[in-house]
């Protein structure tokens, strides 16, 4: 699989310690959820940030997607908590 840019935001970024990294997962990583499993093994920070799936949202090439989406062909994948913009 070609290299993918992975972006992290908010507390996920803080726990992992970087906002962006380039990764080349093996061919067995086929969905967003597979990628989360694979990334979690990279460090204790990754594991801590990515373990609670209910609090993680994803975007493929800047479009919201569910975690069971296939990642084939994606150049950029972002992981972030549920968004909290706007105002009350």
């Amino acid at each position: 699989m070609p290299a993918i840019d992975v972006l992290y935001f908010a507390w996920i970024k803080e726990k992992i310690g970087v906002g962006q990294e380039q990764v080349s997962p093996p061919g067995t990583v086929k969905t967003v959820s597979d990628l989360l499993d694979w990334l979690a093994d990279r460090s204790a920070g990754h594991r801590s940030a990515l373990s609670d799936r209910a609090r993680i949202r994803a975007a493929l090439d800047q479009t919201h997607v569910p975690l069971d989406s296939p990642i084939e062909g994606a150049g950029e994948i972002a992981f972030f908590p549920p968004v909290t913009g706007g105002a009350s």
Binding site: A10, H64, G85
Partner: protein, 154 residues
């Protein structure tokens, strides 16, 4: 028009310019979201000294444009303006401004509310409140998801 910016803006100036620009529209609806001065968590009691808004450059603009396009497909709108800030903000500063222009008030009101409801659940912004007790990421609320979802039933 969509504008995502770090610098403060004056909502009054923006609204006046929007009205002037849309002199042919009979109805202008506006919404201003501002930084409040108390922490939002149930455990928090302190006052907020600063709000830090992180965003996803590129996707933010795309999502806001998608929401504005969706509003334009649902209601009869002459014009739409969304301004959203990022970076450090202080209490009472405007975070977001939404303006909608239409021939009649119904479309302007509904579209303005719709844009805010969808923005809250899909535009990639994250708030961190800084208070004398420390700093904390603001948690998303389920009630916001429900408000956004209700528009699909209408």
């Amino acid at each position: 028009m969509i504008r995502v910016r770090q610098k403060p803006f004056d909502p009054g100036d923006e609204i006046n310019a929007f009205c002037t620009h849309n002199a042919n529209s009979g109805a202008i609806a506006t919404f201003i979201g501002q930084v409040r001065d108390y922490v939002s968590s149930e455990s928090g009691t302190g006052s907020v000294s600063e709000l830090i808004l992180e965003h996803y450059p590129g996707m933010t603009e795309k999502e806001l444009a998608r929401i504005a396009d969706e509003a334009a497909s649902r209601w009869s709108l002459d014009d739409t303006l969304v301004i959203h800030r990022f970076g450090p903000l202080t209490p009472s500063e405007a975070i977001v401004l939404v303006c909608t222009a239409s021939a009649h008030r119904g479309d302007a009101f509904s579209a303005c509310e719709f844009i805010m409801d969808w923005l809250k659940t899909s535009a990639p912004f994250w708030k961190k409140e800084v208070s004398p007790d420390g700093s904390e990421w603001v948690e998303a609320r389920e009630s916001d998801d429900h408000r956004a979802a209700e528009w699909n039933a209408k």
